[in-house]
Amino acid sequence: MVRFENVGLRYGMGTEILKDISFAIEPQSFQFLTGPSGAGKTTLLRLILLSLRPTRGLISLFGRDALSLDKAAITDLRRRIGVVFQDFRLLDHLTTYENVALPLRVRGKEEASYRAEVTELLRWVGLGDRMHILPPVLSGGEKQRAVIARALIVRPALLLADEPTGNVDPSLARRLLRLFTELHKSGTSVVIATHDLALMDQFDGARRLVLGDGRLHIFD
């Protein structure tokens, strides 16, 4: 599904912040990406999402050489990936409902075709009564759930979550993790970037990708 071979990244003429990164994410797999703050977790997720180009190495996404794709093909690949951003990235002028429905809307779907599905998902993440609220009014936890719902609404083949429990209390964090595990059971590969050890301990079967000093260490 995702394959990195000797990928390196540097900004400008600086030192490499990611060095010789090689790993694969298999279909229906579950992994935590961890490491200290500033280790490059978000950068690695952005590389998977093709919003950054590596300075060297090979990246393959869904069996295609990601570095030789045109923009239309990149858009196609991104449509198979759901993303949960650490800083939410909700559109402040759209309601919670409209934000969650955004991935479907940009695919050109009529609202009537997804209304029930979006409403149901919002209820499932506990935002059924916050559908018409604009993001600035939502709490951190509610924003986090809205972002997760936005990532899940297209039933992605791969889910990338950057510190998804960073802004929520432990109880909600457990609920969100259950959400991710349910998603994994339904066939989605999940990558959760976190430095929350307690969260990782709740899911024993997960692979751990640990970033440190720009290098990746894998613990199966």
Binding site: V83, R89, V106
Partner: protein, 321 residues
């Protein structure tokens, strides 16, 4: 039927018409507050107003010039210069007769001695005895609208029969009028083009500003799987609406200005200066062409505004790495 439904769907999306009851408000993805909308509407309105004035003036001058040329081309003048040993009265009558017999001539009217002298009054003043002056006689020849007159043949006939007779077909005036009208229309076209270029540049700057202000929204749209064409359409939709509003205001102001000008000119018509304006521009009743042109300009401005913004956004996104 499906094609029609799809096309209607696109039109509704551009115009922001909501399809059926829904929870989403069909809220624009590019927020109105992120674009200098009021300033752009004002600029577009001013540009549309100026472009409409230029186009209206060009049509007005073009119509008036055609009217002048028609009027002048429907008449010719025979001039009989006094020649020693010849009866100028008889020559005038003969020239009128010869002209009337020529195919294409509707009527020929010879000016009498008194009428000819009266024509000189504006230059020489009244109350003078002009009997000693060799005042030429004029015969105005009205032409039939459809039959073409052979001016060369008539000129030759007159020269053979009456020494001192000459035919003026007003060609020089016609050419000067045509050149003047063409110059004015070309000037208006240049102004029109400059105004449009200035408007396109204003829209381009506004679009770039909007893109800079919406960088994060564009990034999010990319992440959730929006294609470049989709994002460009969002900007096009927003700018089309702004262009439509600005165009409507500018065109409305231009139509009101022309209507006001028409009303004022009708008040002045009875005065001597009004008569002069009438001679220059006709009765100032603007043809429906002017109003149609203004409405067309407003529509074109809206479409152009949307198109320019979409093109700029699309190019910018294409160049993003």
């Amino acid at each position: 039927m499906n094609m029609f439904a799809e096309a209607w769907g696109r039109v509704k999306a551009i115009l922001g018409v909501k399809s059926g009851p829904g929870i989403g408000r069909d809220q624009a993805l590019v927020p109105a507050s992120s674009i200098a909308g009021r300033a752009l509407v004002t600029v577009v309105a001013i540009m549309t107003f100026l472009a409409s004035l230029a186009a209206g003036a060009a049509i007005l001058i073009g119509d008036a010039s055609s009217a002048w040329q028609d009027q002048v081309a429907r008449e010719m003048t025979i001039q009989i210069r006094p020649t020693a040993g010849r009866d100028i009265e008889a020559d005038s009558a003969k020239a009128a007769q010869l002209a009337e017999k020529t195919p294409g001539v509707a009527a020929a009217r010879a000016y009498t001695k008194d009428q000819s002298e009266a024509l000189l009054q504006p230059w020489l003043g009244a109350g003078l005895d002009l009997s000693e002056l060799p005042v030429p006689r004029l015969i105005t020849v009205s032409l039939t609208p459809k039959t073409r007159l052979d001016a060369t043949a008539l000129r030759r006939t007159l020269a053979a029969a009456i020494p001192g007779a000459s035919l003026d077909d007003h060609r020089l005036w016609l050419e000067r009028l045509a050149v003047m009208a063409r110059t004015v229309v070309a000037g208006a076209a240049v102004i029109f083009a400059l105004v449009l270029v200035a408007m396109v540049l204003a829209v381009a700057f506004a679009t770039r500003g909007a893109m800079a202000g919406n960088r994060e929204i564009i990034e999010i749209l990319h992440y959730v799987g929006a294609a470049d064409a989709y994002i460009s359409r969002q900007f096009q939709r927003r700018f089309f609406r702004l262009g439509l509003r600005g165009g409507a205001i500018g065109a409305g102001a231009a139509i009101i200005s022309f209507l006001a000008l028409s009303t004022v000119s009708s008040w002045w018509r009875a005065t001597p200066s009004g008569e002069q304006v009438d001679v220059m521009f006709g009765d100032f009743n603007l043809s429906p062409n002017v109003y149609a042109a203004i409405i067309l300009i407003a529509a074109a401005v809206a479409i152009l505004t949307g198109y320019v913004s979409r093109t700029i956004v699309f190019r910018h996104l294409r160049d993003l790495t």
